[in-house]
């Protein structure tokens, strides 16, 4: 199936989740762990309209007009920040980006003081990325507006989990029952954690694959099957999700060398043949081509969904910003 022909199954919303604010009764989006299946499905369904809109020449909906969204990024990011910025702007919000590098964080201000400052500026939503696990939840406790986690340390990256689920749903129709293999630095990956929670909640069979040093302890408790042998982990997979390997972990600290990593865990065309013939190839980016994924796999027409993930990212973030600001916008049914 070629990607161009992929369409969403987009089942009718009726009966899948409660009406109004009961469909997503959380002020913030900090983690996918603990969300009910229908809460995740609600966000995915909400995103579909934005997938449509974003494919039109005039990509504008002004429902967030007059609202201020602050993207507070304490850790460098290009694509996630851009994606959130575009999402906010397409909904008509005033979007402001705060980079830690140019903020008073560098002058020793505490995280909480920074959060209180952002709060005092009366943001209507704050999107936060921070290098420490739990940091976004900590800020959320101290501010009065919805907070969206754009990645906290090695904990969660919920919008990434959602956009990956949406990408899979567009390609495969349904997520329940799919075999999804996630390979790479599971230990340090917030993307892996959010995907594990999201996909297992939606009924997928998730396998995680990493060398022992990059596999978290007791990962089975997250209802996944761990593998060290990538060839075995790929067997019959419907989706192959590769994770980015950080340069600092390839210097003999965790893995002897990049080429040795590729030897064991690189996604090559030969390896991909072990998965199902229509297996979807995914990567959250940015890629290390020739290390965790070969170029001819990353660019494989009809199989690689890597750019599609980026597209779904904007739609998912629009859905999250819309849903989380409904209470303050007094949308009917959202109390």
């Amino acid at each position: 199936m070629a990607l161009s022909s992929m369409t969403s199954s987009n089942p009718t919303a009726a009966g899948r989740y409660p009406a109004g604010s009961a469909a997503f009764a959380h002020r913030d989006l900090i983690a996918l762990a603990g969300l009910a299946p229908w809460e995740i499905l609600f966000l995915l369904d909400e995103a579909e309209q934005w997938v449509e809109l974003n494919r039109k020449p005039h990509k504008r909906d002004d429902r967030l007009a007059g609202l201020t969204i602050i993207n507070a990024f304490f850790e460098n990011s290009t694509r996630t920040l851009l994606s959130f910025e575009i999402a906010g702007k397409r909904l008509g919000a005033d979007v402001v980006n705060m980079h830690a590098a140019q903020s008073s964080v560098k002058k020793g201000e505490t995280l909480i003081d920074t959060a209180m400052t952002l709060n005092a500026m009366r943001a209507d939503a704050i999107v936060i990325r921070h290098q420490s696990s739990g940091a976004v939840g900590l800020i959320a406790d101290k501010v009065d507006c919805p907070v969206l986690n754009a990645g906290d340390g090695q904990h969660e990256h919920p919008t990434q989990g959602l956009l990956d689920a949406l990408t899979i749903r567009h390609a495969k129709g349904d997520i329940a029952g799919l075999k999804v293999t996630i390979c790479g630095d599971i230990l340090h990956s917030r993307v892996a954690r959010s995907n594990i929670h999201c996909l297992t909640t939606l009924g997928a069979e998730v396998r995680v694959c990493a060398p022992p040093a990059l596999m978290p302890a007791d990962i089975e408790a997250l209802k996944v099957s761990p593998f060290h042998d990538f060839n075995v982990a790929l067997d019959g997979a419907d989706v192959v999700m590769m994770l980015r390997l950080q340069q600092e972990r390839m210097s003999g600290q965790f893995i002897p060398s990049p080429r040795e990593y590729r030897h064991l865990y690189g996604l090559t065309l030969d390896r991909l043949a072990r998965a199902r013939p229509d297996a979807l190839v995914m990567h959250p980016g940015p890629m290390n081509r020739g290390i965790e994924i070969d170029s001819n796999v990353a660019d494989l027409a009809g199989r690689s969904a890597i750019t599609r993930q980026v597209e779904m990212g904007v739609a998912i973030r629009m859905a999250c910003l819309d849903v989380l600001t409904r209470r303050s916008r007094k949308v009917e049914g959202w109390t």
Binding site: S133, G153, H155
Partner: protein
Amino acid sequence: MKPLTPLTIVNGLLILPGAAPAAGAVRCESDRIAAVGADLAPLPGDRVIDAQGALIAPGLVDLGVFAIDKPAFHFGGITRAALMPDQGVVLDTPSAVRFAAQSGKPDLWVHPLAAATKGLEGRELAELALMREAGARAVATGRRWIADSGVMHRLMSYCAMLGLVVVAHAEDGALTGSAVATAGEMATRLGLPSAPAEAEALAAARDIALAELTGARLHLRQVTTAAALDLVRKAKARGAAVTAGITPAHFMLSDMAIGDFRTFTRLSPPLRTEADRRAVLAALADGTIDVVSSGHDPRGPEDKRLPFADAEPGMAGAETLLPLTLGLVRDGVIGMARAFELLATNPARLLNADAGSLSPGCEADIALIDPERPWMVDSAMMAAAAGNTPFDRQGVQGRVTALFKGGVAIEL
């Protein structure tokens, strides 16, 4: 500041070694305990205090605190505190030790623990004999493990000669690295840097081997895992001079408590699995653990109101030490006499202090305790310099009703 008149405390329940609490009285002359007994009567001219049925117990001896926090110590019935060398100015010189030793008087005795190595860096031995002269009661490696086994070997043989107990932190530093949690399901869910619990057994095994080799007395300040407790148990059975301590956090809580990233549960060593917590209870019951201490380390928001991994470890434990240990008595884990061996007698012996028991000749450090009195731990209302308790909003029982240091009443 010696009391002018002798003091007799009557009508209490005496806590005496190896015996159930029994009705009786204690009489103090000067700053010492003169007599204890069931039928002891005040002598003419004594100042008499009616304990009104409260426990008459030795003042607590808290082995291994990180701050001198008198209001918290007095609230918790602590009359002596052994101060860890990890201070703003490291206790690695005789002058620093001498200053620290004077810092609590007259109503709290501070027993400085000399830094084992200069700057606690684990490389060069500090001037341990001179610090002993200046008032150091034992030697400590501080918050960290000494990685170099050669240094540890020389340290322990030297301390064996000097007769000083070596108080060690048992975590293999290379294995723990920057970990802030124990490897396992909870750390995996939270995405926190973690290390295997075996880091403790590795460190304990080496230090026990070196203690047996050198004849030094080794006190592992916190032993929190089943594997390391087994090593201590076996070493004791062989007759090695090894003792073990714990704080209430590790017998009350498992790593489930870190689930919401609450930094008040960020401790060193980190909280362990429920299986290890049960092993700690078993070790308290069978005598493997010798000391329960507070690990008192008050930390304000600048150290604690941070993301979990960025926060400093430690808890304000002085106020909850007694009630949580009395909880072990109520739960039938230990008897009342053993509770005060853990809280007072054993740590006093390790510090070579004439205290920790209601024995004639001991310093008259006495706590009157209502073991049933209920109260609520409230981090916002603590006597401690900061309210970083992992037991916030928890109901506890047991409260000090009067406290005497050297026979002199301390205002509570």
